[in-house]
Amino acid sequence: MNTFGVALLVVWSLLICAYGIAVLERLTALGLRHFRAAVLLPLAETVALLRQENLVPRGADRLLFHSAPLVALTSIALAALVIPLGPALRGFDPSIGLFYFIVVLGPFVIAMMNAGWSQNSPEGLSGTFRAAACLISYEVPLGFAVIGPVMAAESLSTARIVEAQTGLWYVVWQPLGFLIYAIAALFMTYRRPFDLPQAGSELAGGVLAEYTGARLLLFHIALNALFFLLTAMGVVLFFGGWQGPGLPGPIWFLVKTVALATVLLWGGRFLPRVRHDQMLSLAWKILLPASLVNVALVGILILVFPGEKS
Amino acid sequence: MNGPGLVPYLITSALLFGIGVVGVLSQRNAVMVLMSVEIILNAAILNLIAFWRFVRPDNFDAQVFAIVAVTIGAVEMAAGLGLMLLVFRQRGSTNVDQLQELKL
């Protein structure tokens, strides 16, 4: 299969996914009654952002300012390649697929930091501090949470992890790991209630304070697409991926991902916004020990019921 | 035509090592010195992997060694940065030419 075609396909599907997440977010905020508004608002915002002037703040580090949204999108597009949409439907399947996924998302975080730092404003810098603090805290629990499925499937390959869940989804006997993964996913994409690096009128948008127009749009797309990817990876790791009775694999995968994204977005709205130092203590004092307990539990379960891993 | 052999990789590694030495010896900010040390470390790891590939590709000991080296590099960086933070809080600067208290 030619590489160009795959790249084009990935970019298009990411755009559609980002749009889907934007619609979902508005649906959870406005309720099902405003379905039309939820479908149309993201499109209207896109048009509005495209018509907006592309401002570069005075004294900005232009190279980083211009490159940040592109780097973010590129790293997300690369990460999207390893997600198995169906039995034979994926970009490529390296033996260290899951590891690759986490590795490739590293530059995304660097891009967010560059975005905040390059704009030469206290708001952006302060937002960057919050984003970086947030990053340091979620990465370790996220790493430990995905170890559970890897231990059970005895493989880092995403396809193998899905196949290993034919009998039983991992969420059934690794609920703690899934919970940690879900919280870390909300952390990583700055979703509520962890949206402090971006929200709050005191920072006027935080990391993205000075971004306008098309670049801001790119960041919105990147963040939404990243959220979709993380929920999709959550489905792969804990909900059996594309497996399901009757319907073809990709449809099952999509249904599961949308359902999981809805639950995450909707659930996050019912907690007050968490302050950054509370995010840190949540990550280090609760999530990290909990993820270690999860690893130990999974290990014990695998030893006690050797048949489960099939 | 064969691909690049062992020697080109080793030359790259030697160049990286030289740059690292320049950085360690000349940089004024302690964080920059730490970053230069990382370059030296990476030059060494590149050496290890090149030797593994071209001399003993059937023996994976070199990769294990490289992984441990990367780990040690990260630990060194974390401890070093913690130290720098402490120094910065106490002195308000991490410039090595201003931290001369241990000098005779």
Binding site: G106 | A14, I39, I45, L46, Q63
Partner: protein
């Protein structure tokens, strides 16, 4: 054919790795220096992939880009780089010639007197490298040269075997069998590193950092407001007019000329 492509990739990646490492020393902003280091690491990871060490490439990117570099950038932002293009702006305003940090070298000789002194002091403050830069350059070049000569002249025992085994599995098996001790040792080292970093970075609340006025506050002193001289009371508290903390009367009158200088 594949050999040619391999050569092209190798040259591009090694030029990138070496060039980025060099530009780390040349750029003026420490934040950008950190990013240059990251690019060098990523190019190195590319070289690892060329050498069939995919696992190590992934580890390289994750450890260095995902973990370490974030620490570096965080540190840099925390310490001095205020964000944006400030250093370039300064350079432009001061009309300094030369590329990047090479123009901001440590001035030599004793500080001049008179009008030049301020400029000299500013150069000292802004310099990215110490006065030993020429020595360092010479030493670096010499060591690289010696290494290259040694590398070229040594007859290396080549092996034409292609690595076939899955490196991930082999390395994992080795780590948990023959090198178990080293593996655990590295884990222990990380633990020690975490503990050390936490102890280093912990903020010490030394008693000396408190303002002397607060520790010296006893009931007998007369306190006054820095803003309102007419406010006088016999203990610490807040000014009824503006709400500022009261300061001891004697110190306040001493420091009055400096305008709100803390004791």
């Amino acid at each position: 054919m594949s050999g040619l492509i391999e050569w092209i990739l190798f040259l591009a990646l090694s030029v990138l790795a070496v060039g980025m490492a060099a530009s780390m020393l040349v750029t003026m902003s420490m934040y950008r220096a950190g990013l240059a280091l990251m690019s060098s690491f990523v190019a190195l990871a590319g070289l690892f992939i060329l050498l069939n060490a995919d696992l190590l490439a992934a580890i390289q990117v994750m450890m260095n880009v995902g973990g370490m570099l974030v620490m570096v950038l965080f540190m840099v932002m925390l310490m001095m780089d205020p964000g944006g293009e400030m250093m370039w702006d300064m350079k432009r305003k001061m009309h300094m010639p030369g590329p990047g940090a090479l123009s901001m070298t440590m001035p030599r000789g004793a500080p001049p007197s008179g009008k030049e002194r301020q400029h000299h002091q500013m150069m000292v403050d802004m310099a990215m490298s110490t006065a030993q830069l020429p020595w360092a350059l010479a030493l670096g070049a010499a060591s690289a040269l010696v290494l290259i000569v040694l590398v070229v002249r040594t007859p290396w025992p080549f092996s034409s075997v292609q690595p076939t085994q899955d490196a991930t599995g082999a390395v994992g098996t080795l780590l948990l069998s023959r090198y178990m001790l080293g593996f655990e040792g590295a884990a222990f080292l990380i633990l020690a590193g975490i503990a050390g970093a936490v102890i280093f970075a912990r903020r010490e609340r030394a008693p000396t950092s408190r303002p002397a006025a607060a520790t010296a506050a006893s009931g007998t002193k007369i306190f006054t407001c820095p803003m309102h001289e007419e406010v006088r009371q016999s203990g610490p508290g807040q000014c009824p007019l503006c709400g500022m903390d009261l300061t001891p009367a004697t110190e306040a009158s001493v420091h009055h000329g400096e305008g709100g200088g803390s004791a």
